[in-house]
């Protein structure tokens, strides 16, 4: 039995993309298109899987009920853009090219490119264990990126787009300012290059991790229990991070998948239960504006943060 996602991507590639590329005289992009369609299929499956599990959960045990859910619509757009559309293609191409250039350059100079399996050769052939170690390292790096984004005023100006949502649902995971996404990509990219993460080797497990991140934003009264809350980030744990009293530097629970880093570095708070979400410091456009209005508002806030910093100096 093959990998169903890979087979779906292969079928789409052969029956849709290749005829199109061939007709347009763009066959030189065929390999790249194959990589993108695989990303897009995994992204689409992530969306469908998340929808299939989180939507019933939100209906079963909602934390809040809203008569008007129009603010959620923008988050759906963010999700599709981030997981299925152009962004995966850009991410794949940029990261792949950077990895090829850096590792090739290192190899040319007689050094060995950084790679977990080269440090621990026993990992070769044990893909699950290797992935688990990569995932733990990257999750720790993401904890620090996230925590710093709350500490620096200019960065918080961008990150507040993510926090402004008062109607937080599982769709809100990808609600980010484009510049915030770009910084996150560079942060992730540098760490990933330093430890040699293989971008396409473990797509199924990446899918599971992204699912945990989406679930943690769900508008669902779901907790993993005393022990489970300390093993995996739950909707209850992450909701405390989005609480109206926890915006900016006041926040807690920065972990994306594992709560271990919050516990280790003193930012965990297991006491807050299902608080209202939002960023009271942001303007209304950040919360209920269109995608473009949110992006614009984030930029304006960034500018103000930078200008006020200059005045203070």
């Amino acid at each position: 039995m093959g990998d169903p996602f890979d087979l779906i991507a292969g079928w789409l590639h052969e029956t849709v993309l290749i005829p199109l590329l061939y007709a347009l005289g763009l066959m030189r992009w065929e390999d790249l298109a194959h990589g993108w369609v695989l990303f897009a299929v995994y992204g689409a499956v992530q969306v469908v899987l998340t929808l299939a599990i989180c939507l019933p959960l939100e209906r079963w045990r909602p934390v809040e009920r809203w008569p008007d859910k129009s603010a959620v619509g923008v988050d759906i757009f963010y999700t599709v853009l981030s997981r299925v559309g152009v962004l995966p293609l850009v991410t794949f191409v940029l990261f792949y090219q950077a990895q090829v250039a850096l590792n090739g350059w290192i190899t040319d100079h007689g050094w060995i490119p950084p790679m977990l399996e080269r440090v621990l050769p026993a990992l070769i052939g044990h893909s699950l264990l290797t992935f688990a170690i990569y995932a733990i390292i990257l999750d720790c790096a993401d904890y620090w990126r996230h925590r710093v984004s709350h500490q620096l005023r200019w960065w918080w100006a961008l990150h507040s787009v993510h926090h402004a949502q008062r109607q937080m649902t599982f769709w809100s995971d990808d609600r980010n300012h484009l510049l915030d996404d770009l910084i996150a990509f560079l942060w992730f990219g540098v760490i990933a290059l330093a430890i040699g993460v293989p971008p396409m080797q473990f797509p199924l497990l990446v899918l599971v991790l992204r699912f945990v991140e989406s679930l943690s934003h769900a508008n669902a009264r779901v907790s993993f229990g005393v022990v489970g809350e300390r093993l995996l980030v739950s909707p209850r744990f992450h909701r405390a991070h989005h609480g109206v009293l926890a915006y900016g530097r006041r926040s807690c629970n920065y972990g994306a998948v594992l709560p271990w880093w919050d516990m280790l570095f003193g930012t965990a708070d297991f006491s807050r239960a299902f608080v209202p979400t939002g960023d009271p410091s942001g303007d209304e456009a950040l919360a209920t504006g269109s995608w473009l209005a949110q992006q614009r508002s984030g930029l304006r806030r960034l500018w103000l943060a930078l200008v006020s910093r200059r005045k203070e100096a």
């Binding site: 039995m1 093959g2 990998d3 890979d6 087979l7 991507a9 292969g10 079928w11 590639h13 052969e14 290749i18 005829p19 061939y22 005289g25 066959m27 030189r28 065929e30 194959h34 695989l38 792949y96 090219q97 990895q99 090829v100 250039a101 590792n103 090739g104 290192i106 190899t107 040319d108 007689g110 060995i112 490119p113 790679m115 399996e117 070769i124 052939g125 893909s127 293989p198 396409m200 080797q201």
Partner: protein, 312 residues
């Protein structure tokens, strides 16, 4: 018709159900090499690579099977009789690779890094690096080992390099998205994936002197062991085309959907073909046009058969 096809595609081992030996299939997106028992068609094991292996070739002395892992920047040396890893050597971006017929040089195309590297095989010392215009893809040698021809997939050209003087000879346009390259009867054949033909190129000038239409997205081409049939895989059309190697007349086309890519030939006359998009290898019986399939890993690319390996 059957008599005619049997004449065209002689099957020395037709009496045997399957050929004996081991097949090696490179699973590019699974970062592994499948080792298959050719007699039972069972996958015996998967040898782990690091990141993204693509092509493979046996060493001239037959003692090693070299597998290039592009994103892993590593060359794996396998025991061709068992699949055991002999050693792993750091090599920058090894995509397609080939030994010159005299065995003096190993040429490695760095597709992602736009470079063509020439190594001294025994020590794996880099002798020469030729910068390439764009995405050097496949390669072929002249029989006298003086020249290596490399398709430049991103610039629609073929380049020739003199391995004696270590100087570039020419770079000429050969058609859209050239991929597979083969020396045949004093000409260089280049499969043009952006079109439906194989360009016939004069090795001295690099000029296209003829075009052989085989199918949409002509991607890669291989000469049968008896040198009578030229086999061309057509990526967009999902076909494998048999061509008379002497006259360059198309004999027959077979539907092999799923992105047919590399081919190797079993002693019984079967063709083992990797199918990139369906995680399978097809075993084509040319006399009937039927094919069987073997499940392998994601994006199977390079394939090599070792019929002399003892079946387990």
């Amino acid at each position: 018709m059957i008599v005619l096809l049997t004449d065209i595609f002689p099957c020395p081992g037709m009496s045997a159900a399957f050929a004996a030996g081991l097949a090696f299939v490179v699973n590019s997106n699974s970062a592994s090499i499948s080792v298959i028992d050719m007699s039972t068609h069972q996958e015996l094991r998967r040898v782990p690579a690091l990141r993204e292996p693509h092509h493979l070739i046996p060493s001239p002395d037959g003692k090693s099977l070299l597998v290039g892992d592009t994103a892993g920047n590593q060359m794996l040396f396998l025991d061709p009789a068992t699949g055991e890893v002999q050693r792993r050597v750091a090599v920058a971006d090894p995509y397609q690779l080939g030994f010159s017929p005299d065995g003096k040089f190993l040429v490695v195309n760095g597709l992602a890094r736009n470079q063509i590297d020439v190594y001294e095989p025994a020590t794996m010392t880099l002798i020469k690096r030729f910068p390439a215009e764009s995405t050097p893809s496949h390669l072929a040698f002249s029989p006298d080992s003086r020249t290596v021809f490399v398709s430049l997939q991103g610039s629609d050209k073929l380049a020739a390099f003199d391995l004696t003087s270590m100087q570039p000879l020419w770079t000429e346009p050969v058609g859209p998205t050239p991929a597979g390259v083969l020396w045949l009867n004093g000409k260089v054949l280049v499969a043009d994936m952006g079109n439906d033909y194989v360009a016939v190129v004069d090795p001295a000038s690099g000029h296209v002197v003829d075009k052989l239409v085989t199918g949409k997205g002509a991607h890669n081409l291989f000469l049968s062991p008896d040198k009578r049939i030229l086999w061309v895989n057509n990526r967009a059309g999902g076909t494998t085309t048999a061509v008379d190697a002497e006259t360059l007349q198309v004999l027959k086309s077979y539907n092999i959907p799923g992105g047919p890519d590399d081919i190797d030939f079993a002693p019984n006359g079967d063709l083992w073909i990797t199918r990139r998009f369906v995680e399978k290898v097809a075993i084509l019986h040319p006399e009937t046009g039927d094919f069987e399939t073997i499940d392998v890993g994601r994006s199977p690319h390079g394939i090599w058969l070792n019929p002399t390996a003892p079946s387990p």
